[in-house]
Symmetry: C2
Subunit: 480 residues, 2 copies
């Protein structure tokens, strides 16, 4: 009997990556040798070593889980990635394409012939195929659809009819259904007719003759129940279910809240049409958090670490452009006060501090509020209350930090009035930051926009331009 491998999965994966990299390196070295020494290509020894490296690599890859191969592909530069991809067993290609990130998937699909793509796609279930369809050439999708049976085609079309962020786009169709009026004994016998139950099966769906969901029979209850008991007696009727048009992020929150493993998806008549599984929800939560991080940094989408320079430029230019526009506005605000700066050049050195602390503080406020909105914990009526709280925080911070800055400015430039202006400007800019930090996300939410996207850019624009205007304006009024 094999002993269970006690190595930590992360270490094992790192080992695999290192092994693959070493094999690739050796392979390249041999290739290089053959090339450089102008040896005849058919030199027996070299050719053997050459083949042996690739065979070893292929053997290594065969032993790996598709998710692990996907991980290794992500970590390799393009030419190495394609070398590995060509050695992957074709049965795994579909699963691997599902696992890799969008950017890497694109590079792999580009390298494949149409018949290879069709072969890879044909191994997938309807719901998996739907995930991939957008990235595949149209011709490939048509050809694969032609090979599906009627039920699968309908499932595929149903999944494709929903948008990426909807429950319907994430559901699968691996449903085990039973009737309520049979005994547990019958259910157990029925299940034994399967070769294997669908992955993640933690409950069996109980439906009536019209397919309407009547309840669910958790497997952990079925296993402890009296075999003579009827399903109707054992099943749970309080079921957390979803509608296909519902927001998938809301479904993920419900999975978290109620510790679900699977959940039924029902149409408007209560008919069971699919199921959600926790592994999809885990992927969704991870994706959401990455999108958020990328957006905050001004990246449009996930980037292949080894993407060509030009692809990276394309991915990043949009937010840089927005940043430049807001910076230009701030620059024009300063431009309007050039006369004041000429008279008191210390203003130029101090103004970025006022703008910076406002931006930092505004981002703190906005992060809190965006989060509360995303969790649905902030009711419209409470924005006022929060605004008052945030103003309170900003006044305290303004007096404390503005005071410190004021003293610093006073000591540096020996100008007491300049210190007072610094204190006042810092406090006012923090108050502006607090107000905009509450206003921007709540307004975006009201107008049906996602408050997470762009909030940070907007608030920084406000606190930069606002900070410069307040500081230089107060200085012009009171110091010159």
């Amino acid at each position: 009997m094999t002993v269970v491998d006690k190595k930590q999965p992360t270490d094992r994966l790192q080992d695999s990556l290192t092994q693959v990299q070493r094999l690739i390196e050796r392979h390249r070295l041999v290739e290089d040798l053959v090339h450089r020494q102008d040896m005849p290509r058919h030199d027996l020894v070299e050719s053997l070593v050459h083949k042996q490296n690739l065979a070893e690599l292929e053997h290594k890859l065969e032993a790996l889980h598709p998710a692990d191969i996907a991980y290794i592909l992500e970590a390799l530069p393009l030419e190495d990635r394609l070398l590995v991809w060509n050695l992957v067993h074709s049965d795994d290609e579909g699963d691997i394409l599902l696992e890799v990130s969008d950017a890497v998937r694109e590079s792999l699909i580009e390298s494949m012939e149409q018949h290879e793509l069709v072969a890879a796609a044909e191994q997938l279930d309807a719901d998996e195929l739907a995930d991939l369809a957008a990235d595949l050439p149209r011709q490939v999708v048509y050809e694969v659809m032609g090979g599906l049976d009627e039920e699968e085609r309908q499932q595929l079309q149903s999944v494709l009819s929903y948008e990426e962020h909807q429950v319907g786009a994430l559901m699968d169709f691996e449903l085990v259904k039973i009737r309520a009026d049979v005994s547990c004994e019958v259910v157990l016998r029925y299940l034994r007719r399967f070769d294997e139950l669908p992955s993640q099966t933690d409950k069996i769906f109980v439906t009536d003759e019209d397919g309407v969901l009547k309840g669910v029979l958790p497997v952990r209850k079925l296993l402890v129940s009296d075999t003579d008991a009827l399903v109707a007696e054992v099943m749970a009727t309080e079921v957390v279910s979803f509608r296909p048009e519902e927001d998938a992020a809301d479904a993920a929150l419900a999975f978290e809240r109620y510790d679900l493993v699977t959940a039924p998806v029902l149409d408007e008549h209560g008919v069971l049409i699919g199921r959600l599984t926790v592994d999809e929800m885990v992927d969704l939560i991870r994706e959401e958090s990455e999108t958020e991080a990328l957006n905050l940094a001004g990246l449009k989408e996930e980037e292949d670490l080894f993407a060509p320079v030009i692809d990276s430029v394309k991915n990043r230019w949009a937010w840089l452009a927005i940043n430049l526009c807001t910076a230009f506005v701030a620059s024009r605000v300063i431009g309007a006060f050039e006369g004041s700066i000429e008279k008191l050049v210390a203003l130029a050195a101090l103004m970025p501090i006022v703008a910076g602390i406002g931006g930092n503080s505004g981002n703190q406020t906005i992060t809190m509020i965006v989060r509360a909105l995303a969790m649905g914990q902030l009711q419209p009526g409470q924005a006022n209350r929060l605004w008052r709280k945030e103003l309170g925080v900003s006044v305290i911070n303004g007096v404390v930090w503005g005071g410190a800055l004021g003293v610093l400015a006073w000591m540096l430039y020996g100008n007491f009035a300049l210190g007072l202006v610094m204190l006042a400007a810092t406090t006012l800019n923090l108050m502006l930051a607090a107000s905009m930090g509450v206003l921007i996300p709540t307004m975006m939410e009201r107008f049906g926009k996602d408050p997470a996207v762009g909030s940070s850019v907007l608030i920084t624009a406000c606190t930069d331009s606002g900070g410069f205007f307040i500081f230089l304006g107060l200085a012009s009024l009171f110091l010159l």
Copy 2:
């Protein structure tokens, strides 16, 4: 038979929150009336209405899942939160305390008497108690531990001996164990002796007489197997297992990669000591992503939305202070060039643009690299390759955007040389941003620090001070 509720869980939860808020409002209104009109407190009608509201609220709360009550508590201001908390059925208190965020938990625990806390804690399993222990008064923990049996006490101590980010701190002990040499029939009969199998049970652990894990029997295989088959024939021996001292974030990645629902935790001898479940991993992934978002915004920890102003100030001051220090350095860089600014005041208006675009671009680079490091996809040897790629991106962006800015500066101030300086400074600052964007996280990783924490602050500090220095320095050299 109850019909399955087809309402979407999110809507249902929102409805519950609204209902609770309405009942609280009504309750406060009555209270207010009694108070304001100086009615005698025993006025029968008022008192009845009063009681009726609270009874209705209590009734409503009884029907809710602990996770839903936790959600509602999060969304309520402090006084309303405590009102609801006092009406919660005491059997649920422990579970609710586990579900709420740290900040809200603190406010609830503060409001409870010691004997109430002991009662709430006593309802929890050892692993749940361990999660709560850090927030409970020491005396309460001792009292609860006194009531545990020997096995539970050992479990509690074992969980408490691991740090929060380790697998051991997240494992539970609800293990169903069998031997390999029995038939599936025997297993099924054995399981039927349980009242209920532990939640999330998707596999049964197969151990030998020493408790060493020999394999796992997935329930979905058990259900389809021949009842005469031996466990040893049916079980899976390729098991993803974890060590208690392993990083929990790595475990979460493995759960994602292999679509796990539960996984065994083994000690160094391969003895089964606990299990991880996907619901803990989901919570962990969500928590990680929130911590990241909070840290990026400069918040130390999750903040109770309705926390007193002073608590918020405490939570936020540290990063504001860091921000002020870096801003002060940048300000001193400008101060060193005050002479140049006095001669050409346009510099003051243009310098924030150069600094700003550098910060934005540097954050894009650093986000990519921090992510790749977190996923373990970036090997040390590849930093160089990435650096060259990022430099390429920054040169292109520098020429394009720097060129546009140069033209703008030229047109605004009618000074061609100023435009050239703008172009050069933008390009150089973007190159600085790219270099630091690769260097900072890889160095932090090398020195064993978490590259996600503070990277953004560091890069902005570099690009601000660096941008001012490059721009003002070039201008001083070539324009004055």
